[in-house]
Amino acid sequence: MEESENMSNKKKLTASLGDKTFRLLTLLMAMSVLALMVWIGWQMVDSARPSIAKFGFTFVIGRVWDPVKEQFGALPFIYGTLVTSFLALIIAAPVGLGVAIFLNEMATSKVRSVIGFLVEMLAAIPSVVYGLWGIFILAPWLRETVEPGLAKWFGFIPLFQGTPLGFSMLAGGLILAVMILPTIASISREVMAAVPNEQREAALALGATKWEMIRIAVLPYAKSGILGGVMLGLGRALGETMAVTMVIGNRPDILSSLFAPAYSIAAVIANEFTEATSDLYLSALVEIGLILFGITLILNVFARLLVWSVERGPKGGISS
């Protein structure tokens, strides 16, 4: 592309056959990636069509999920997904930001590389292993210790009422918090590293303490990028399947207590997809997946734009 643009009228660059073939090959691959995205979207819409036709908008607000009577409403799953994801966000965002600040602004380079690696490992642990740990360690601990404790001290809030079961939205939210923390920490770190050192030095030269420097020079600069990181984390939480499936309790109810079991979109797909006997049932499951796809898509696009605007913004110019 570039080269043909550069050429004025007669001056054509001629490439050898091998060169052209290689270029064409890379172009084909790039096209296939674009096609893959379109194809996935189309496949989802196509498979969900029977369910969309049958239920229309009531699918999204329906509270009943009864495969036997072929009555499908997705609200309980949407609810469970949103509650666990936001719970995860409330916990992981401040902690992740704290980790990013610690690594970027406080740690020596040795500490940074060790702790940075450990935080990366947190992201590398497979989701099913988190789920296993959730079933046998986290859920019992919540049931025996945390949930009774919370009920005792904060029981007047509806969120912390009811029987402590362990397998609950609280468990789902906590495990998601652990899983998205590295995403938030590493992206916040990236955008904070993009803050020019002159900004920090300017603040320090004014007699700012380290915290004041972070507050006036680093955070405002990195703000929208951090927000982007948080949104990417949220996107990951919404779509996370295995760990949540294993600890959320898998009951399609909408209850206000965090101690109550619930169901998430990804979990119901994982559990019921291979058991879906009728076409409509399968189609309804795909439609829930489509909703999830739509939410994560929008979230990701926004998040990328935010991160991108920070990382590209301050630099600019043409490198020679």
Binding site: E2, E5, N6, S8, K10, K11, L13, T14, S16
Partner: protein
């Protein structure tokens, strides 16, 4: 042997910036021609037009005519042209993934030469011409990056020579080097003009005076004056040349 170059009404753009505004210049074979001028005057772009490197950058455009021994360079495939017109860059850029030896023969090998004996002979010849042979002959398998800055630049010169060009373009080849390495490179350039036509861009006027047979002074994309080096430095015709040489601007 070196070839002559004739440049006719050469214009070049970067984006909407017109960098060269109609250059006309004759360059004689087997001479060192120095291009001097303040930063941003288009001297680098000028030499990059001669081997059609300028066009490889995005949003660039070139118009005009350049001919090599009377033959338009635009009739040649740019890849073939660059075998005839070699180039050495401002910063030494050996291929980091290759050894010293592989760097020197990279051009030959990638252009299809397979014979080990020939490659070896050519590597030695090029390294000798670049006055680097004695320093590296015992460690040809070391990475090119293991050399000092001056040695790296001479390695790049050897790499360019191995392809056996007839014209050698040098874009401030010594600007990143210390004085001793610079002296080495300058001696090298003087000895190479026996075989090659050399065009060297430099911001260092003493350097131009030391090594060039003829000197061209560029200003804001125009060729102000081109003549024998001694004349340019002692008796410039143009007031602007005089101002630049005597250090009144630039």
């Amino acid at each position: 042997m070196g070839q002559s170059l004739s440049i006719h009404n050469l214009e070049a753009w970067y984006g909407s910036n017109k960098i060269l505004k109609g250059i006309n210049m004759e360059i004689r074979p087997n001479q060192v021609t120095a291009i001097i001028g303040p930063s941003g005057c288009g001297k680098s772009t000028f030499v990059r037009c001669i081997n059609r490197m300028h066009e490889t950058l995005p949003r660039t455009r070139v118009r005009g005519e350049i001919s090599l021994d009377g033959r338009s360079i635009y009739d040649l495939n740019p890849v073939a042209l660059r075998k005839t017109v070699g180039m050495v860059f401002q910063k030494a850029n050996p291929f980091p993934s290759m050894s010293i030896y592989d760097n020197v023969v990279a051009g030959l090998r990638l252009n299809g030469m397979k014979n080990k004996q020939e490659l070896k002979a050519s590597a030695e010849k090029s390294l000798r011409m670049a006055a680097l042979w004695d320093e590296v002959k015992d460690r040809l398998n070391y990475s090119g990056m293991s050399l000092s800055g001056g040695q790296q630049q001479r390695l790049c010169i050897a790499r360019a020579l191995a392809v056996e060009p007839s014209v050698l373009l040098m874009d401030e080849p010594a600007s990143a080097l210390d004085p001793i390495a610079t002296t080495h490179i300058e001696e090298l350039i003087r000895s190479l003009k026996e075989i090659y036509t050399i065009i060297i861009v430099t911001h260092n006027m003493q350097q131009a005076a030391r090594i060039a047979d003829s000197t061209a002074f560029f200003l804001s994309g125009e060729l102000v004056e081109h003549g024998p080096t001694s004349e340019i430095f002692t008796n410039p015709h143009d007031k602007r040349t005089e101002d630049y040489i005597t250090g009144r601007f630039g």
